[in-house]
Amino acid sequence: MNHAPILIITIPLFGAFLTHLTKYTKIKRGAELVAFICLLLSLLLLLSMGSSILSGEKITYNLGGWRAPLGISLQVDGLSFFFAALTLGIGLAITTYSLGIYIFARRYYSLLLIALSGILGIVLTRDIFNLYVFFEIVAVASYVLISYKHKPRTIKASFKYLIMAESSWVLFLLAIAILYGLTGTLNMDSIAHQMPTIYQADPKIVIVIFSLMLVAFGIKCGMFPMHTWIPEAHSQAPTPVSGLLSGLILKAGLYAMLRIFFLFWGATLFMLSIETVLLYLGLATLLLGAGMALAQNEVKKLLAYSSINQIGFILVGIGIGTELGLTGALFHILNHSIIKTGLFFCAGIIVSQTGFWKISQLRGVSKAMLSMTIAFILLSLAVIGIPPFNGFVSKLLIITATIQTQKYWVAVILFFGILLSAAYYFKVIQSFFAKDEFVTNRDFTPRPVGRFEHVTVYVLVLACLVIGLFPDLLRNMVTLAAKVVLQ
């Protein structure tokens, strides 16, 4: 039996405990080394399954040898593979970026590995209660990571996130309880198999379950009107953690939505189909994120609202419901993870060098830090969706899908959203290139920025450009993932 699926999850989890033991060895920076090696090993194991997954196979692993309805099973299919590869890729980028920041100690790398292994667990498991436990693991690790610096505002942001996210997980647990009471099983495939009979017997209870899950995953992925934790948590967290939150934890919520909603209610069961619900909520999220981003004066807060805006795009892509729309949405998940992690890293470097975090204070910063400003501009062009960057490809796919399904008014709102995102990013760029004399904050001692941080940003910019120029490299994987969702 191929043990790779469980090892992908447990190697980073094991590494999380090993990082603490490096205290007793003489290896310099042992925790970082352990984190790096664990993530690379997981990535290698995942890629070793790559060829068979991409040919359409599904690899199932039964924990403890118990078959699916009785035991817990892990399954690697196209969608899981896509998200696991994304998690490990961005996870490696976050680890590399953290290497240059010396204030992060063993505890930080340990929590980072726990969060990453939790996300890997979320994407691989086929048991719905297991999904809940993995979500809680990620959540607990991220609360501590957000308040890692123990500043007054970070603790407040972390507490707000804790209250919102935990009340949502209680609702998710309630949904699991109702599902278990109705079906007597926790395996996703078995529940999906019984769903049509449940719906015919009592449609109301299915709508209750759907609403509970929508609230739970909506809070996780920052859907309107449950987005209020995002701006504070993203802007107050340490820079690599902002990357983790925006790049991966929001995407875990989207994964759960894609997996569970389409598996359980794939055929349009309701009078108001799931796609329509997601479409309208996505449009609201998109407009709200764009509008609020225009009004921001802090760089990281603007990026956080921009995340909400892009999540809106992804939700609209899912909401269209055709294969093209889903392909666009999945592609945008990948692109947004890369771009937004890069943007947060860029903003982190600029803020830690100058001591300013307000856009109005950063006027003329290009004279002091030209390379980082250029990287910021390239990444913001990518997120707006200007060719030849990757954001263009995915947004084009989503808009083409709206036109194909003759939802012209949606396409118009999407264009409006793109214009708004251009407006708020150009505002930042304009202020960076202002002719004013730039003076660094006198009361601030800049933190030395290592080469690792710069290298990470350059690699992410390069990834944006390469994916934008050759989108066919990844098209196979993304289309396969979209097909798995629609099955």
Binding site: S167, L173, Y180
Partner: protein, 111 residues
């Protein structure tokens, strides 16, 4: 089956918890309401496996009426998670009090 059973009490206490989280301004009370919600879902889940007159699922002599053991096993995990969340929430509340010398949300927003 009476109307007063674990399921209905569970749902009512979940609603009490949600009400508390939405209306209370004290951080400690918010964490308490979170724990109330968590415990009531646990009560709800356990009650799903309950059968009146049944025994614990330890088979001794073949055919005996047993309660469903799976919810109990699952809720053991859930109790641990609830404990972790509550202790973390209370720790953060203490930190907030040390930094801002208040745990009233209305005053915290102003700061």
């Amino acid at each position: 089956m009476t109307i007063i059973n674990g399921l209905t009490i569970g749902i009512i206490t979940i609603l009490i918890g949600i009400y508390g989280i939405l209306t209370k301004r004290n951080l400690i009370k918010m964490v308490m309401c979170l724990y109330i919600m968590n415990s009531s879902v646990i009560l709800f889940f356990i009650s799903l496996g309950y059968r009146s007159g049944a025994q614990a699922a330890i088979v001794e002599n073949g055919d005996q009426l047993m309660v469903d053991p799976l919810p109990q096993a699952l809720m053991l995990t859930s109790i641990v998670i609830g404990l972790v969340i509550t202790s973390l929430g209370l720790a953060l509340a203490i930190k907030i009090y040390k930094e801002h010398s208040t745990i009233n949300t209305k005053r915290l927003i102003e700061k």
